[in-house]
């Protein structure tokens, strides 16, 4: 990894307060293109709030965010997507009444061209081939034309991830992708994430609680506690970091 | 000058009645996420209960009023909540709003078909005398309307802020999840909100029908004004509803007296469009408002 390259994501001094609670307190970090960054921390450490602030679901009180060198502070979520940023949500966010194929096409169709242009374009926005490639990548071919709401939880998680990938390649933020997923599916998911990263050079930022998942997936880890960064480094460094151990196990 | 004072007072008086309707509307919106499009008909209907009490049951006026109030609270409060709102609350949103629109039509057409299409004479609550203060002729009715409305609003505000139940209601409106964890019976709080709305609507009905007579179509105009008053004042605040109601009452009267009769009804409409364009949270509203 060339340290001279410009970071794909630059977060500077983000803070967000809810009433009396300071959820995020002056967080700053860079993300280099192609890395898989893990964001971990105990519950309530502000990880999801931080994501929401970066991605436009929430407006931060202070701070700036730059994606590929462009400022995205205050931009709406749909504009961020146009820059090549995708995300998954903590709660499953597939569209239950649409087929898996439709879900993935829906995830990609707004990314290119104009809204008005799409009115006159092909019904699938020319994305069937690309969607099928992604479906094959996640080994979901047999579920292609099935209603997404009738899939198992783990399969929906895969569809969720596929949807986030359609906005890329570029930057994908994953909010607790391993939540509630059984071991076999977890291994499958991790394998697909790493493969996608190798094939397309997509940058991932992952919020997770599952230590084992994070440690084996990520190339770099940032630890949050009470809204602030307390440690940063490679997985093996973090594992042995005393501050981190205290924050997780201590009072 | 004295004429202006007259017009102002008269406007404040009608405005205070509008405010009652607007407050009820705002409460139900806040506490039950119900945009009640039938609010106008809720104000039209209780007067007819009173008329039924007088003509069909032969009750004296004071008893008929109580009868009307009780029936209104049961039908427009309990029944409305249990039969229409409660089953739809979890799925919420659009179907509920449409159901209230249909309810408004139902109430309006039912009165038209089953009672009559003509405006019905309605007994005066207050003597029709006028008193003169410094050259201005003021009707006792205007003063009494204002007094009654003010007393009710003060009573309601005290209830909401000073009593335990009132504060529980406010907690339910602001954050039902947390309120429930803290032991508040939110279903009951929501029910109380609907009861209060029915009561306010009934009161507004009793005060305004002597002026405009009881007619099945009253709901359209009163409903529109209640919505506008609530939005212009500030959709998530009760004092917004009060301010909005008074403002519209005064502006409407001033327009009718000094400016135009034909486009009198247009002024509140333009106020609404203006507010949504310039300050959507209303004159007294706060930007955050109630998070959806």
């Amino acid at each position: 990894m060339n340290i001279q390259t410009k970071p794909i994501l630059q977060v500077r001094d983000i803070s967000k307060t809810f009433g009396a609670i300071k959820a995020v307190n002056g967080v700053s970090f860079d993300v280099q293109p192609g890395e898989i960054l893990g964001l971990i921390g105990p519950n309530g450490s502000g990880k999801s709030t931080l994501f929401n602030c970066i991605l436009g679901q929430l407006t931060p009180d202070t701070g700036t965010v730059e994606v590929k060198g462009q400022s995205v502070s205050g931009k709406r979520a749909c504009d961020l997507n146009k820059l090549g940023v995708g995300r998954t949500f903590q709660q499953l966010s597939v569209f239950p009444d649409m087929t898996v194929l439709d879900n993935i096409i829906a995830a990609g169709q707004e990314h290119k061209g104009t809204l008005l242009g799409r009115l006159f374009g092909a019904p699938d926005a020319g994305l069937t081939a690309e969607a099928d490639k992604l479906i094959a990548f996640f080994r979901l071919q047999h579920l292609r034309d099935t209603r997404a709401g009738s899939l198992s939880y783990g399969q929906q998680k895969l569809v969720d991830a596929a949807m986030a990938f359609m906005a890329g390649p570029g930057l994908v933020l994953l909010d607790e992708p391993a939540g509630g997923v059984n071991l076999t599916m977890l291994a499958n998911l991790k394998d697909r994430l790493i493969a996608f990263n190798r094939e397309h050079g997509t940058t991932f930022v992952v919020i997770e609680h599952n230590m084992e998942f994070v440690m084996s997936l990520c190339t770099r880890i940032i630890v949050l506690a009470e809204g602030a960064i307390i440690a940063e480094g490679r997985p093996d460094e973090i594992k042995s970091n005393q501050t981190v151990i205290d924050a997780y196990l201590g009072g | 000058m004295s004429q202006f004072f007259q017009v102002m007072l008269s406007g404040l008086s009608t405005g205070s009645i509008y405010a009652l309707a607007a407050i009820g509307f705002t409460l139900v919106w806040q506490a039950a996420q119900t945009v009640n499009f039938a609010q106008g008909e809720f104000v039209m209907l209780p007067a007819f209960f009173v008329l039924i009490g007088i003509h069909a049951l032969g009750l004296p006026l004071w008893l008929a009023l109580i009868f009307g109030l009780i029936v209104a609270v049961i039908v427009l409060g309990v029944l409305f909540k249990q039969v229409i709102v409660q089953p739809m609350l979890p799925d919420g949103g659009l179907p509920l709003i449409i159901a209230t629109m249909a309810l408004g039509i139902l109430l309006k057409e039912s009165v038209k078909e089953f009672y009559g299409a003509e405006a019905q004479p309605y007994p005066q609550l207050f003597p029709l005398d006028a008193i003169t203060i410094g050259g201005a002729v003021i009707s006792v009715q205007d003063v009494m309307n204002l007094v009654v409305a003010v007393v009710v609003v003060i009573g309601l505000t005290m209830f909401l802020n000073r009593t335990r139940t009132g504060r529980c209601m406010q907690a339910t409106a602001q954050n039902p999840g947390v309120a429930e964890i803290l032991g508040v019976n939110i279903r009951r709080m929501v029910l109380y909100t609907f009861l209060i709305n029915a009561g306010l609507a009934a009161l507004a009905s009793f005060l305004i029908s002597p002026i405009y007579l009881a007619k099945f179509s009253n709901g359209e105009s009163i409903g529109m004004i209640a919505f506008i008053a609530a939005i212009v004042g500030g959709f998530n605040q009760i004092r917004g509803a009060i301010a909005g109601g008074l403002l519209i009452g005064v502006v409407d009267n001033i327009t009718a007296t000094y400016i135009t009769a034909e486009y009198r009804a247009a002024v509140p409409l333009l106020l609404l469009i203006g507010i949504i364009l310039l300050k959507p949270e209303g004159l007294l509203g706060t930007k955050e408002g109630r998070a959806v």
Partner: protein
Amino acid sequence: MLRTWKAPLLAILGLILLLLAPIGQGNYIIYTLCSWMVFSIAAMGLNLTLGYAGQISLAQAAFMAIGAYTVAIMTLAGWHWVVAAPIGVFFCFVIGLALGFPALRVKGHFLAFITLAFNTLVFLVARNEDWLTGGALGKVGMPRPSFFGFGTGQQISFYYFTLVIFVIAALLMYGIVRSPWGRAFKALRENPVRAESLGLDTRMITLLAFAIGSAYGGLAGALISPLVQFIEPGSFAVHHSLRILLMVVVGGSGFFYGPMLGAAVVILMPEVLRFTEGYYLIIYAVMVIVLMVFCPSGLIGVYGKLRDRFFPKVVVRADMQQGAQL
């Protein structure tokens, strides 16, 4: 809802029925059929706004008024319907954009109130501005258009003219719904936060849906002028916007054929069930309330539920098809 191959077949059957319907019928029935098609167009537009984009508009009658009065004024001054109608439709589209833009910026159902106010305003202007609209007396005697020498003065020829416009409007609507916009609307309805995070400009698509829906109202109004040949403010009051809303909701909001079904119910029922005179609005209101409580997707939704009950499509849980390999 309909299993895929049946849909185009039914559409063609429906078209054939419509082509044959007026033959041998009396003028009044043909007039009622025209009325049904005109209101179907208005309801189709409102369905786009309400059923697809999820916004309440209470001004569809006002947009009909704008279309109707534009056509009336222009055709009475000698312009052909073919020139007047698009102008009326265009006015409605632009006004829709102007009304929708401030209302849709804000969270909440503000569009409902703004359109309610707008409808009342249009009514007031129509009633007061005699010089423009003929005031309370309205406009009378709008000429029926003729095309390449074929007049539409006869009720049956006007029927076929209306049918052509109706089919064009329906095809356009079908084109909108089949395009990626249809998928975007679905996403918007099922999970608006996710839809926006996937790049959908939710505000813009909603605004455009409302503007197009309003334009359809204008088209319906443009047809009403020559159909009835008499328009007055009372025909476009708020009450009528509510009626069109009822059509969309009863038929099935969000379904392509919903508005046509709903318009048929609302227009034809009073004709068919004469004894319900005066009560039919009460019947609809009750119908809507019951539908909203039990089956908000209208009559088409009821059909779907009944069909699934008696002819269930057995769906094996998709993940089980390959065994429990996950």
